[in-house]
Amino acid sequence: MGYKIVEREQWSEKVFMMKVVAPDIAKHRKAGNFIIFRLNEVGERIPLTIADADTNDGTIMIVTQDVGYSTAKLMELQVGDEIMDVIGPLGQPTHIEKHDGIVLCVGGGVGIAPLHPIAQSHHNNGNKVVSILGARDKSLIIMEDMMKKISEETLICTDNGSYGEKGLVTDMIKRVYEKGEKISEVIAIGPAIMMKFVAKLTKEYNLPTTVSLNPIMIDGTGMCGCCRVLVGTETKFACVEGPEFDGHLVDFDLLMKRQAMYKKEEHECSLKLG
């Protein structure tokens, strides 16, 4: 018995959304949680954030970018198809506090998907959310309407200026900061390199910053340590102690190197796609 796909939308050439029937996960998930899926008998275990959930119809929403073999295979599935294994909700839920200043939510590319439930939770808890959505080009800006619904203000930028402002998310952070409104917390999710530079900037500004890390995972339950990251001087297993951590303490360079560990094998696997 698998997990049925009941909705599927293609948002750009490589980014797509699916709603999957998983009532228990929909009921128990909190902002910040993720799932691990395995497509079939020979599939690998791949983590994806729960971007949204609906307890009425028992579905969870996942948003993915096709970056390699398994995400490409997932993308081939259509409404009515089933995913063999879906495990979750995993990870620690987002820590939400009541803030007097704004919560600045910064999403890079498909990182906007994991950002959404966190921003939503801040919004639902009475915090004032300001969002910055950035990507390489227009086609990669996703979930704009969903983010606007929960944000006081939404700034959009692209590297090439094809949509919104031309520039990087860090430029947008600078702008918000310079306007002088109190920023209580920055949440940044996107490629490791983006989170690294956001953290660098917010450190200068002395703004508490939360990032959500995406190391390679296998079990997602704390039994292998494949997902280990260095936070300050401590080794943390992102799957059970994270995936959210203090951005000012994370060793992003190490994260990026470990993410690239299977480059050669990933290439070999992708050859199967033809």
Binding site: I25, R38, E44, I87, P89, L90, C224, G225, K264, E265
Partner: protein, 466 residues
């Protein structure tokens, strides 16, 4: 019954084994099993002692002389039944128990000659039964009470197997997508073929045990809700949390916990990559740190993935290696090099953060400590680098703290193991029982089975008195 042979008349029957040359290249099982003739002959070596000391050495109290007697008569299926009276997983135990420190260590024949090959006979009998008989349907009246078993390792399976026979409605929850615990993700195919485990699980299913995979109690399932839903709960969650070394360089690319390495290869089948989707890197020179079964499995896996050099780096000497003797011999035959009296100091990487060497401190053995084990001490100034491109850490595991952290009523020891009642296996929380590695720290399959059975008894007692 055929007369038993005179002491020492028949030599211990050698288990036929595939050559190191051949087996280095694949993941197929190493021993090929006794022939019927060999089993009959080996069984005659048992003296059928009045006071069978071998049984004292067996944590599951298998009726050893009785089952061996049945083997000697050629009643292999009856022998299987006899074992299964007390041990639900003989195919696994015959293969992975450290018999040399358990049943066979106490065997009287072994005082002067080689001990009776109890483990090999157990393996033969279990294999024979699997091939030659159908599972008999369980006939038992249901008592209407529901028990939840968390974790589908040997402890959980044994507990579930006994409870279902007592008439309980049993549901087993397993976090992974496969049932069997370490038997599936840890111990490799070449030592314990996965189809054997699957077969035992199939039998449990036919007996009526319900399995739910992909359920992580404590994270994806609320423990409090579970406790309310069932009349009793058994925690057989194992000791799956890998211990890292805390030396510099542990984060480099090419450093793995043995759990990760073995999970990729066994559970995810990465040795078949790219036929399956999970990759494993085929390193050239691999150092495995540790000297237990886990270390042996990791080093022999690395050999099979094509490594040219594989080292075991161990703090003490050959005599102190905690792994099963047979596995140590197999590893040596397969070309694994043992670097004894070496303690890891640092893992060294290149400019891209890939492992290039492991720096070790040369040790010597000092005076025996309280437990009589000679403690390794550093030989000052003697440092040795071993050139490798991967390091696998197999220095131990501890219980996963997930559930205990969320349920403060569950008392744990400093080592993170559940505090339990010696007789019933009950934890500090009413109606919650525990056993296996979760209650004793990383131990053995047969102890986990014993604990599962004890808890089944404890649960039955608890629910009958209620």
């Amino acid at each position: 019954m055929p007369p038993r042979s005179k002491l020492g008349e028949i030599p211990r029957q050698e288990m036929p084994t595939r050559s190191a040359e051949e087996r280095r290249k694949d993941f197929k099982e190493v021993p090929t099993g006794y022939t019927e003739e060999q089993a009959l002959k080996e069984a005659l070596r048992c003296l059928d002692c009045k006071v069978p000391h071998c049984m004292e050495g067996c944590p599951a109290k298998v009726k050893i002389p009785q089952f061996i007697g049945l083997v000697a008569e050629g009643k292999f299926l009856d022998a299987a039944k006899k074992i299964k009276e007390t041990n639900a997983l003989p195919a696994a135990c015959g293969r992975v128990c450290p018999q040399e420190t358990q049943c066979e260590e106490r065997c009287v024949v072994g005082k002067k000659f080689e001990p009776v090959a109890i483990g090999k006979l157990e393996m033969f009998v279990a294999d024979y039964e699997r091939k030659h008989s159908e599972h008999e349907d369980l006939k038992v009246e249901k008592n209407g009470k529901r028990v939840c078993v968390i974790g589908a390792g040997p402890a959980g399976l044994a507990c579930a197997g006994d409870l279902i026979k007592l008439g309980y409605d049993v549901t087993v929850l397993e976090a992974l997508h496969t049932i069997g615990g370490v038997l599936m993700y840890g111990i490799p195919e070449f030592r314990l073929p996965k189809e054997l485990v699957a077969h035992e699980v199939e039998n449990l299913k036919r007996d009526g045990v319900k399995f739910k995979i992909n359920e992580v109690a404590g994270i994806s399932l609320d423990f409090g809700e579970l406790r309310k839903e069932y009349d009793a709960v058994f925690l057989g969650t194992g000791a799956g949390l890998p211990v890292f070394l805390n030396v510099p360089g542990e984060h480099l690319c090419g450093v793995y916990s043995a759990n990760e390495y073995l999970t990729r290869v066994n559970l995810m089948g990465a040795y078949k990559f790219p036929e399956v989707d999970t990759p494993v890197i085929r390193h050239k020179k691999v150092a495995v740190l540790g000297g237990g079964n886990v270390a042996m499995d990791a080093c022999r896996t690395a050999v099979r993935l094509g490594a040219e050099k594989v080292y075991i780096v161990y703090r003490r000497t050959e005599k102190e290696l905690p792994a099963r003797l047979e596995e140590i011999h197999h590893a040596m035959e397969e070309g694994v090099e043992f670097r004894f009296l070496r303690a890891p100091l640092e893992i060294i990487g290149d400019e891209n953060d890939n492992v290039v060497a492991i720096r070790t401190q040369v040790m010597e053995l000092g005076e025996p400590d309280e437990d009589g084990r000679r403690k390794p001490i550093a030989v000052e100034g003697k440092i040795e680098d071993i050139e490798v491109d991967a390091v696998i850490i197999a220095i131990g595991t501890t219980p996963n703290p997930l559930i205990a952290r969320k349920v403060p009523e569950l008392k744990i020891t400093k080592k993170g193991t559940y505090v339990i009642d010696e007789e019933t296996g009950e934890t500090s929380m009413d109606g919650v029982f525990a056993g296996g590695d979760a209650a004793r720290g990383a131990a053995t399959v047969i102890l986990a089975i014993g604990d599962g059975k004890r808890a089944a008894y404890g649960i039955d007692k608890y629910l009958s008195e209620k």
